[in-house]
């Protein structure tokens, strides 16, 4: 039985997870320079040790009416190139390209290991927009963990 590991975090009091292989690091207290005229989900650009990282507001993506930008914890994703260098690309679902991206979240949670057969489709009561960005859900003991499809979060046409 193959298992998956998720880095979990919360956005607007919901718990979400991203495949741990996709995550490069987590930063707290990030500050971004806004980009005028950019898509509303783009919080701005961040200087990560000399690399320019585009920071995306996940809450805006999940609920387009939400523009509260008080959060400042950032999940830096590995680019496809990075994964390929580490020979991990094949094991990760979804392609996000070569641009360095960070996702702004509320709080970080623990890393959770789940069996693949525990994954199920998103429930119907989930908002349409949210469903579009979700890969799977996992019913954990005390809460529902939603696995985010990063490639869809980063595809603003979704």
């Amino acid at each position: 039985m193959s298992t998956l590991q998720f880095v979990t975090f919360s956005v607007n009091d919901n718990r979400y997870g991203v495949d741990i292989l996709r995550v490069r690091e987590v930063l707290k207290q990030v500050s971004c320079s806004p980009v005028p005229g950019a898509h509303p989900a783009i919080v701005g650009l961040m200087n990560l040790r000399g690399q320019v990282v585009t920071v995306i507001d996940l809450s805006q993506r999940l609920d387009t009416t939400n523009v509260d930008r008080e959060r400042n914890t950032c999940l830096i994703l590995k680019t496809d190139e990075e994964l390929e260098r580490q020979n991990l690309l094949e094991q990760v679902r979804g392609r996000i390209g070569s641009d360095a991206v960070g996702i702004l979240v509320d709080d970080m949670g623990e890393v959770i290991t789940v069996n693949e057969d525990e994954l199920s489709d998103p429930p119907a009561q989930m908002s349409e927009q949210e469903q579009a960005l979700v890969e799977n859900v996992v019913m954990l003991e005390d809460y529902l963990l939603t696995q985010i499809a990063v490639e869809k979060v980063l595809d603003f046409s979704v």
Partner: protein, 1038 residues
């Protein structure tokens, strides 16, 4: 051969070597796998084809012929007509080796003989595979022996390369080496035993043979020097072999040609003797000491053409250059940039604290120096000589001239001028296009040239040179040039310019219209240059690279297109500016200047034309936009009372002077607040003047922070839609700034330059024109509301002080008694679209207009001023019945009252004497001052005349020639052609000599016998004069 040809040749060598290596690899793959991959064959087919093609370019016929036949064979294989059987692969491999050797030594390649290799390949093409080679390996007819020729040729005591060994070498990717050694240098001097030496060699390869053999050498007296030769195979490539073997490269000869798989064979000292495949063709050399260079002692036919392989690379100094991935360089470049930033941060942080740590100053100094130097050097790695693009042009010129039946010589200068690789790549297409244009449209056909007294052969010259930190590239031809008049006509026909504008626009400006989209003056579209890439694309491409392009021409002599480019794209000197607390970087390249305007100057320099704010700059009018507006950012100001940041909603810059439109809504209080707001914002308006091609525009920012060298980082795909930015950068303080892209900002702001350049053309004589404009005495008054008004003093007869109580009302109308008559009063707010007067003063002013008879008085609360001003009337911003327009008086905006319009909207009839004679007569009003022109026009039209108005004598002359007039009313002082000049022309013309001309002047002009004169703005006098003049003319005619 000139220097860039040499450069190119070197490139050919490097490239072909790579290609052939790939061929070899693929061939080896075919050798092993039975199934044929058509794509693989196709790939090597293309590689060989490419080598063939390029060799043709350099005239390397021998390389060409060998690659040609290889290509044919591969072609047959690709089509499945030849199967890749091992013998054929072998043949191809050896031919490939031969080819590679030839490529590596292009100089002597021409004298090489490849006929045998060609013949062997040819045989396969004719379906006659030479059978015998399979049975007898290493036969003379076997091309391997011929092509790779090495063993037979170089062996001092012959070493036979068997088929089996070859297969082995090939399969394992081994190189075959011959080491020319001597016991003294390699054994004794190195203080090691022969065994130790053999062991060392065996650790990096397999010894195939030692001559004389090891035993013999061991037996030989140590005191003497014995030359010996070692044959070995190794995975080490020729570059690494000397290091691996610790033997001087000069004594290592490369025999075999494989290299890839790492599988060193097991060591064993006397392998040579044990390994069965290694056969010695000749008996072992005598154990006795042989003469140092043994080669000549060889009984074999050595004098066959020396195998080129042996001479390997030296010919082209390939080892001086190294191919490095661009991505690696880019990364290095980025990191160097980041290092610079880190250094800057460090220096900033330690600023002022350097005394605390002893010696840190020196260390920082050193770090500083090294960092800068390193950045510079890494930048250098990206630079490439422009000569590398020149190469492809000779081909273009040759093909083009052939196609067009022209004779053109290409002259390239400055091939060593270096440019950033990215720039160079972006430059190739525009340059090619311009070259095509020059040949197609510029250079005449030989007969045409001869007829024009030029040499039959035309010349196109590409010249690159450095100037002022920029790279300049000129494309010059000695062709027919561009007929600027034709361009002018085309511009009018296409509606780009009106005929007047076209007449005023300079030749240079007209010429550069060819860079506008869809502009072509070529009489016919040829298939050569009509490829859908116009000069506008050229300009766009050049501008994308941060450059500018401009054309010059001389009819009949030729055309030059000049390009200016920055040296590099990756590191850019930029101006860091601040807008709403956010930093932006603006590359210096496009920056023409920075204009700082104090509030008092804003009124003078910023105006509003056709719904755009416009800056008066060096006799030009530049559109200006606020960066905040272009980027859609909120503008804020700090509220004085609350100290909070508030959103600023003032629309236009020119509102600083023209806030009138909003006054109706704004209360007085708000206006005060507005003023505060302006003060709270920094008092100075900062405008960056940016250049795009030939146009410029102003970009308003809040503050200018500093100049900084920035490292350009590309934008992520998420920001591709943000057209206004060309990239991002990390500033010295670690924050990120977006890099502004002037071209796209102008686009986003929807600036229309064409119109402005037209305006600018008009405005270019501005100063001259202005000097000639009349200063108009105005009376400036208010009616108690927020607006102020003005009337020309000439239209005012008197201003009466009337106590409030003297106003009598009859029905809705108000009257005063004036000179014993009832004079109706006109209140401005009742007839104009202006604010209502709230309170009446105890005593008011009544302005009695000078209208011949006195139909009505205009009520004013206060006369503010009466003075002479140079009037510029803005007729567009504020208009309405009874108003001429608005103008600036000191710091105020005033509304100019149109007395006649006001009176007619007030229902007051304005009677005029002599109108009978004037009815329906045609008058031409000539005045350069728009206000005067308008007023005079109004007077005459009201008097029942048909009026046309023009702005100077020249225009008048044109109008008179095409239209019919009964009388000309002209100002005296005008640009281009003044009143006296116009008069002289009219009198000098037969048909027009009797056309009556009335001067607008207070006194009869000297030297000219005008038919009459009238003071400006004095309606009664003008009407009187015209009545007299036209009446007289009528009498005379009768």
């Amino acid at each position: 051969m000139n220097e860039y040809d040499r450069e190119l040749l070197n490139e050919f060598v490097t490239e072909s070597t790579e290609l052939l290596e790939q061929v070899e690899e693929t061939l080896l793959g075919l050798d092993e796998s039975a199934s044929l991959d058509p794509e693989a064959i196709n790939e090597i087919f293309r590689a060989v084809h490419s080598v063939k093609g390029t060799s043709g370019f350099f005239g390397l016929d021998v390389i060409g012929s060998l690659s040609h036949i290889m290509e044919n064979v591969l072609g047959e294989m690709r089509e499945g007509r030849l199967s890749p059987e091992p013998r054929l692969i072998d043949l191809l491999l050896s031919s490939n080796d031969r080819l590679r050797a030839l490529v590596l030594d292009t100089e002597s390649s021409q004298s090489a003989d490849v006929s045998e290799a060609v013949a062997s390949l040819e045989a396969w093409l004719h379906g006659a595979p030479p059978q015998q080679s399979a049975d007898t390996p290493a036969e003379a007819s076997e091309p391997v022996a011929e092509a790779a020729a090495a063993p037979a040729v170089v062996a001092d005591n012959s070493f036979e390369l068997t088929e089996e060994l070859k297969q082995d070498l090939r399969r394992h990717g081994l190189m075959l080496y011959r080491l020319n050694l001597s016991t003294r240098t390699d054994i004794t001097a190195r203080k090691r035993s022969l065994d130790a030496f053999v062991k060392h060699i065996s650790s990096v390869g397999t010894i195939l043979k030692v001559t004389p053999n090891v035993e013999t050498l061991k037996a030989a007296p140590e005191s003497e020097d014995h030359p010996f030769t070692v044959w070995m195979s190794s995975v080490l490539d020729p570059v690494l072999a000397p290091m691996g073997l610790a033997i001087d490269a000069a004594r290592i000869e490369v025999i075999g040609v494989d290299g890839k798989v790492a599988e060193p064979t097991s060591p064993a000292a006397p392998v040579a003797e044990k390994k069965p495949p290694v056969k010695l063709a000749v008996a072992e050399a005598p154990p006795a000491p042989a003469p140092a260079p043994v080669t000549e002692a060889n009984p074999e036919p050595v004098d066959a053409p020396p195998a080129p392989e042996v001479k390997r690379p030296q010919a082209h100094n390939n080892n001086e250059t190294l191919r490095v991935k661009t991505s690696l360089l880019d990364r290095l470049m980025q990191m160097a940039g980041e290092l610079v930033l880190a250094r800057n941060r460090l220096l900033r942080r330690l600023d002022g604290q350097q005394d605390k740590i002893e010696g840190i100053g020196a260390i920082l100094g050193e770090l500083n120096g090294i960092t800068s130097e390193m950045q510079e050097q890494i930048m250098q790695t990206r630079l490439q000589p422009i000569g590398t693009v020149y190469g492809r042009f000779s081909r273009v010129v040759r093909d083009m001239s052939k196609k067009l039946g022209k004779s053109v010589r290409l002259d390239t200068i400055g091939g060593d001028v270096e440019l950033d690789k990215a720039l160079l790549e972006g430059l190739a297409d525009p340059l090619t296009h311009m070259l095509r244009n020059s040949i197609d449209h510029g250079v005449e056909d030989p007969d045409g040239r001869e007829a024009a007294g030029k040499p039959r052969q035309g010349t196109v010259r590409i010249r690159a040179y450095h100037e002022g930190g920029m790279v300049n590239i000129d494309i010059e031809d000695d062709g027919r040039g561009i007929d600027v008049e034709k361009v002018r006509v085309a511009a009018i026909r296409k509606g780009l310019l009106s005929s007047e504008q076209a007449a005023k626009t300079t030749d240079t400006d007209i010429l550069n219209l060819i860079f506008r989209p869809g502009f072509s003056t070529a009489a016919k579209v040829t298939d050569v240059s009509g490829r859908g890439v116009g000069m506008d694309v050229v300009r766009t491409n050049i501008e994308k690279l941060g450059g500018v392009v401009e054309a010059r021409t001389r009819l009949g002599e030729g055309t030059t297109v000049s390009i200016k480019l920055p040296l590099t794209l990756a590191i850019v000197t930029s101006l860091i500016v601040d807008v709403e607390g956010q930093r932006f970087a603006l590359p210096q390249v496009g920056l023409e200047s920075v204009v700082r305007l104090r509030p008092a100057d804003v009124a003078k320099r910023v105006e509003r034309i056709r719904d755009m704010d416009v800056l008066r700059y060096r006799e030009r009018l530049l559109p200006i936009v606020r960066l905040t507006d272009v980027l859609g950012m909120d503008r804020t100001y700090v509220d004085r009372e609350t100290g909070e940041r508030m959103i600023d909603r003032r629309g236009r810059l020119s509102d600083r002077r023209a806030a009138i439109e909003k006054m109706e809504e704004d209360t007085l209080e708000q206006r005060v607040d507005d003023d505060d707001r302006r003060n709270a914002l920094s008092n100075v308006l900062r405008i960056l003047v940016l250049r795009i091609g030939r146009n410029s525009f102003g970009l308003v920012v809040d503050a200018i922070v500093e100049n900084e060298e920035i490292v350009v980082k590309p934008l992520s795909r998420f920001l591709r839609d943000c057209q206004c930015f060309s990239g991002a950068t990390i500033l010295g303080d670690g924050t990120i700034a977006m890099i502004l892209d002037p071209v796209n900002i102008a686009q986003a702001a929807q600036l229309t330059f064409s119109d402005l350049s037209r305006d600018a053309a008009e405005e270019s004589h501005l100063e001259r024109v202005r000097a000639l404009r009349e200063r108009v005495p105005l009376i400036h008054f208010s009616n108690g509301g927020p607006e102020t008004f003005a009337l020309p003093l000439a239209q005012v007869a008197r201003v009466e002080n009337i106590p409030k109580g003297d106003v009598q009302r009859v029905g809705h109308k108000e009257y005063i008694t004036y000179r014993g008559q009832a004079l109706p009063l006109v209140r401005l707010h009742e007839h104009l679209d202006v604010a209502m007067t709230m309170e009446e003063p105890e005593e008011m002013k009544v302005i009695i207009p000078n209208l011949g008879s006195c139909p009505a008085g205009i009520v004013a609360h206060e006369v503010l001023d009466a003075r002479e001003v140079e009037l510029e009337v803005d007729e567009a911003t504020i208009r309405g019945q009874g108003l001429i327009g608005s103008a600036i008086l000191g710091d105020d905006i005033v509304l100019l009252v149109d007395t006649y319009g006001l009176m007619s909207s007030a229902g007051v009839a304005v009677a005029c004497a002599g109108e009978q004679v004037l009815q329906g007569r045609r008058a031409l009003v000539v005045d350069d001052t728009p206000f005067m022109r308008r007023v005079t026009h109004g007077y005459l039209a009201d008097a029942g005349m048909q009026v046309e108005a023009v702005s100077d004598g020249l225009e008048a002359w044109d109008a008179i020639k095409t239209g019919e007039f009964d009388v000309i009313v002209t100002d005296m002082r005008m640009p281009n052609l003044d009143g006296a000049g116009l008069f002289a022309r009219l009198r000098g013309s037969e048909e027009l000599a009797h056309l009556p001309v009335v001067a607008l002047a207070s006194e009869a002009p000297k030297d000219c016998q005008f038919d009459g004169h009238a003071q400006k703005l004095d309606r009664p006098e003008l009407i009187e004069t015209l009545t007299a003049v036209l009446g007289q003319a009528q009498e005379e005619a009768a």
